[in-house]
């Protein structure tokens, strides 16, 4: 549980990665991801357990499993033409994964399990770069474990859902301020680290099938607060002075919210060959007002980091074409609105609105086994942005510049059915 919380914290700190709005990493199924990560109405594989558990009961097979992993290659560049400074994040491959399983108990009742990493972030700037007082590096990961049920109420309507167990890890390092060093000129910095932070939430969904060709889906996942309590905070390279914090380890408390997410969408299958999907998603990021890090050492003031996120929408479009008996092709697009508001653009989450272009295919190796591949190219406009809530001596010290980022997410998975 604690691990999940920590992960959440990392996300908060370091959402520089370019996956989806905030520190949401949308890569919970290769088949959906290839279609713009739309899937609330798509009854296709065990991926439905995550996208819309109520749809599990419509799966034809008795037991089906989907599993996969995605490599996240994100790049963020920053420059400030008024000072001539520039920086970029280090390459690091995040690896969100998923495991979904659905078991059809009988015609009207299915059980499922979904293990995913829908939130996470990993951003590493060059140490002591121009924004090092905001973040040097951050690593956040949260794992969702969801036992699920799906109940068919009629041919046209089903419901589903279940609890969510979360465990998260967080590790976040940044410099104490823009100038403080020890006697050797090494920048004073603070690392907070916590693992196994846990909490619980829930999900609820329905699927409405008015005609055979059309499924309308709705899914809601609740907000989950990852409360890191008693984590480890390490103070390094502070000078030996009674006027500054001492080097060493203390504890910290902080809360990272994983926002609630609502999805409404449909899948339309005009014929055997084609499927079209659309999801509208709303992420309730307004819960993320501020990241407050409270230290165990009473001499160290609480670090208040305004975030002031807003709720954000995502529009997902996907299409699937069954080319042969063995090969299914998919393409998609999504528009990902950033929850970050003007003046709150922090380099740990340098996210403006993104355009995701996706493609992928499934190859049916045998009756039971298929390989699913997907590829996402996430593109962001070059943006002039600033984070204005950092202050020194009671004065706001904006951190501004031009950001340009992109991300490539190749993913591979398998679908197995009995």
């Amino acid at each position: 549980m604690k691990n999940f919380l920590i992960s959440g914290m990392l996300l908060i700190f370091a959402s520089a990665s370019v996956y989806a709005g905030g520190y949401r990493v949308a890569a919970q199924g290769q088949r959906s991801l290839a279609m713009g990560h739309a899937g609330v109405g798509v009854v296709n594989s065990a991926e439905i357990a995550f996208f819309n558990p109520s749809g599990m009961v419509y799966l034809e097979d008795k037991f089906t499993v989907s599993a996969g992993v995605t490599g996240v290659f994100s790049n963020v560049k920053w420059q400030n033409t008024s000072t001539g400074q520039f920086a970029e994040t280090q390459q690091g491959a995040g690896t969100p994964f998923y495991l979904h399983a659905a078991y059809k108990v009988n015609e009207w009742f299915s059980l499922g399990l979904s293990v995913t990493t829908p939130y996470g972030s990993s951003v590493e700037w060059e140490p002591d770069w121009a924004g090092s007082h905001l973040v040097n590096d951050i690593n956040l990961a949260a794992i969702f474990i969801q036992p699920l049920v799906s109940i068919k109420l009629s041919e046209h309507f089903s419901i589903g859902g279940g609890p969510i167990f979360v465990t998260g890890d967080v590790n976040f390092n940044r410099n104490a301020n823009r100038t403080l060093t020890d006697e050797q000129g090494n920048r004073s910095n603070i690392t907070v680290d916590d693992t196994g932070v846990t909490n619980t939430g829930w999900s609820a969904s329905f699927m409405f099938t008015p005609i055979e060709e059309l499924r309308i889906g709705f899914n809601y996942r609740s907000e989950i607060l990852l409360n890191a309590e008693g984590g480890e905070a390490v103070f390094s390279n502070f000078p030996n002075s009674t006027l500054t914090p001492q080097n060493g380890t203390t504890t910290f408390n902080a809360t990272l919210p994983l926002p609630a997410e609502l999805t409404l969408g449909f899948a339309y299958e005009p014929n055997e060959k084609w499927l079209f999907a659309f999801d509208y998603q709303r992420a309730f990021w307004d819960v993320y007002n501020s990241l407050d890090i409270e230290f165990g050492n009473p001499n160290v003031p609480t670090s208040i980091n305004a975030r002031n996120y807003k709720n954000a929408s995502i529009y997902r479009f996907g299409a699937q074409y069954k080319a042969t008996d063995n090969v299914t092709l998919r393409v998609g697009y999504y528009l990902d609105e950033s929850p970050v508001q003007a003046g709150f653009f922090a380099p740990e989450t340098p996210r403006n609105d993104g355009n995701g272009y996706t493609a992928g295919l499934s190859f049916q190796v045998s009756e039971k086994l298929a390989i699913d591949a997907s590829f996402l190219y996430l593109r962001f406009q070059e943006v002039e942005a600033s984070y204005d809530s950092y202050s020194e001596n009671g004065q706001s010290v904006p951190f501004s510049g031009t950001y340009k980022s992109n991300a490539f997410l190749p993913g591979l998975g398998v679908t197995y059915k009995l």
């Binding site: 001539g84 520039f86 006697e183 002075s241 009674t242």
Partner: protein
């Protein structure tokens, strides 16, 4: 499945190469231009300010924040080459000559004594000046150098250090025992240069409280003492030679004028009216100096001076003190018009940072009252006549501030005359040669009034102001960043470049540390 997996590393490599690109990327040299200047081989000449001296020492961190190093960082955006500096061995500062320490460690702000105070950082310095560094170095700033030192052969000869004929900092990286700083600079064939020299030509005198000589009229600098003021013609001749040789093959350069001593906290931190008195003390001090005047009048009369003349001459010693701040009493040379050799300080006269402030609180700068003196004063109060010995006791109790602790108006005039002459030389040579000119005097004057930046205000206040290091004379990294920004601004103006200025808030001020002995 296996077949697919083997291609994954290739895919990963392909993705890594797909980095986002800015429309106009600084990194790709798409934003700035050098204008008419060529920054490929920039060489800086000067004294401690150019070297990055701070906190009364030269140490690595200070050197890395020297203004030449800061501007070289911006030059690098438009084709500037690597900028090398003769880095010290450590961050302690201090120098060794054959293992003997010949220069102090740097100052840090320590709280060990209970209240924050500049204190020497503890440790044994590792910079042995006989360890010759192999150059050449782009930063030729040499702490302590005066104008004429830049052209002095043998200024980097280790044998001359103990005799005061050579400079330990130049000894570290001079190309030979006979070379001069200018010669080593010109040998690098700089494409661009900076020159900030002349500060020490008056500062040595000023920081000694004016104990040296004003050498105006003496054209032989080899006869000057270290605390003397350099003759303006000597300065002018040397400066002309420096510009001519540096500019011969360079695309351009930037020169700096000399700031006023009143721009520097070393001279402005202790006010000359810090003698704060309550009404009773003011009254008794006034009474004391009336007694002094009275005793002196009597003495003069006894020596045969007519009483009116005696009273007129002695009247200057009947100094009146008022409740609140009063100017200190200062010792001055004995003259016919001031036979006792003291007077109250005048507006504009300065006290040095190094003055013993504890002593000031104990009567240094006014009167050293002993019980014996008080007894004599009592006799006088009751209308009695003290003996000659007793009278002398009263006169001797006057405790004026020593010459070494203050700059009086005469000394300030000498400094000011030399400085204006140097500055007009610098500015006219800059104009004549089309060089960029930094009005460092005006800049530091603005700092004195407070310069705001995102994150605070930079002032010249000692310790807290942000611009000046703990020695009160040299700048902090933030202060040097201000110099660098002004330099970049005038270079852009002169050469049509568009170099960006640095963010001064990212440059540190003073170092806090209790690592002291």
């Amino acid at each position: 499945m296996k077949n697919y997996i083997k291609y994954l590393p290739l895919l990963a490599i392909g993705l890594l190469s797909c980095e986002p690109e800015f429309d106009d990327a600084i990194e790709e040299n798409e934003v700035y231009t050098a204008g008419e200047a060529d920054f490929s081989n920039y060489v800086s000449l000067g004294n401690s300010l150019t070297a990055g001296f701070a906190d009364n020492a030269l140490y690595i961190q200070g050197q890395q924040n020297s203004y030449p190093n800061i501007i070289a960082g911006q030059f690098a955006l438009v084709g500037g080459g690597v900028f090398t500096q003769p880095l010290m061995a450590d961050n302690l500062g201090g120098l060794l000559l054959n293992g003997m320490q010949i220069a102090n460690n740097r100052l840090v702000l320590s709280t060990v004594s209970g209240s924050p105070a500049p204190t020497l950082i503890a440790g044994t310095p590792q910079t042995e000046i006989t360890n010759k560094l192999s150059g050449p170095f782009n930063n030729m700033g040499v702490p302590g150098a005066k104008s004429f030192h830049l052209v002095a052969p043998g200024y980097g000869n280790v044998a001359g250090v103990e005799l005061g004929q050579a400079n330990p900092y130049f000894v570290r990286f001079s190309s030979s025992e006979t070379t001069a700083i200018l010669a080593d600079a010109v040998a690098q064939n700089p494409s661009f240069f900076s020159l900030w020299i002349g500060n020490n030509d008056i500062l040595g005198y000023a920081t000694s409280g004016g104990t040296g000589e004003d050498q105006a009229g003496n054209l032989d600098p080899s006869t000057y003492g270290s605390t003397d003021i350099t003759d303006p013609n000597v300065f002018g001749g040397v400066y002309t030679q420096l510009i001519n040789e540096l500019n011969a093959n360079a695309s351009g350069g930037v020169v700096y004028n000399i700031p006023n001593v009143t721009d520097i906290p070393f001279f402005t931190t202790v006010p000359n009216n810090a003698l704060v008195l309550d009404a009773a003390s003011a009254g008794s001090l006034t009474g004391f100096f009336q007694s002094v005047a009275g005793i002196f009048t009597q003495g003069l009369i006894q020596q045969g001076l007519p009483p009116t003349q005696a009273q007129a001459l002695a009247a200057q010693y009947a100094i009146t003190f008022n409740e609140g701040p009063n100017r200190f009493v200062i010792d001055v040379p004995v003259t016919q018009t001031n036979p006792l050799g003291f007077r109250q300080m005048q507006m504009g006269e300065l006290l040095l940072l190094t003055i013993n402030q504890g002593a000031l609180a104990q009567g240094y700068g006014s009167v050293a009252l002993s019980p014996a003196v008080l007894q004599v004063l009592g006799i006088l109060q009751q209308g009695g006549t003290p003996t000659q010995e007793q009278a002398q006791l009263v006169l001797g109790a006057v405790n004026g501030i020593d010459d070494k602790d203050a700059l009086d108006s005469g000394e300030l005039n000498a400094i000011s005359n030399a400085r204006s002459s140097y500055n007009s030389t610098i500015q006219s040579l800059a104009e004549a040669n089309g060089l960029a000119f930094v009005d460092a005097d005006a800049l530091l004057n603005r700092v004195g009034q407070g310069l705001s930046f995102p994150g605070g205000i930079i002032t010249s206040d000692f310790v807290t102001g942000g611009a000046f290091s703990l020695d009160g004379v040299h700048l902090t990294p933030r202060g040097y960043a201000l110099i660098a920004n002004e330099t970049l601004r005038v270079i852009n103006q002169t050469y049509g470049s568009n170099l960006p200025e640095v963010n001064v808030g990212e440059y540190a001020t003073i170092t806090l540390s209790d690592n002291v002995d």
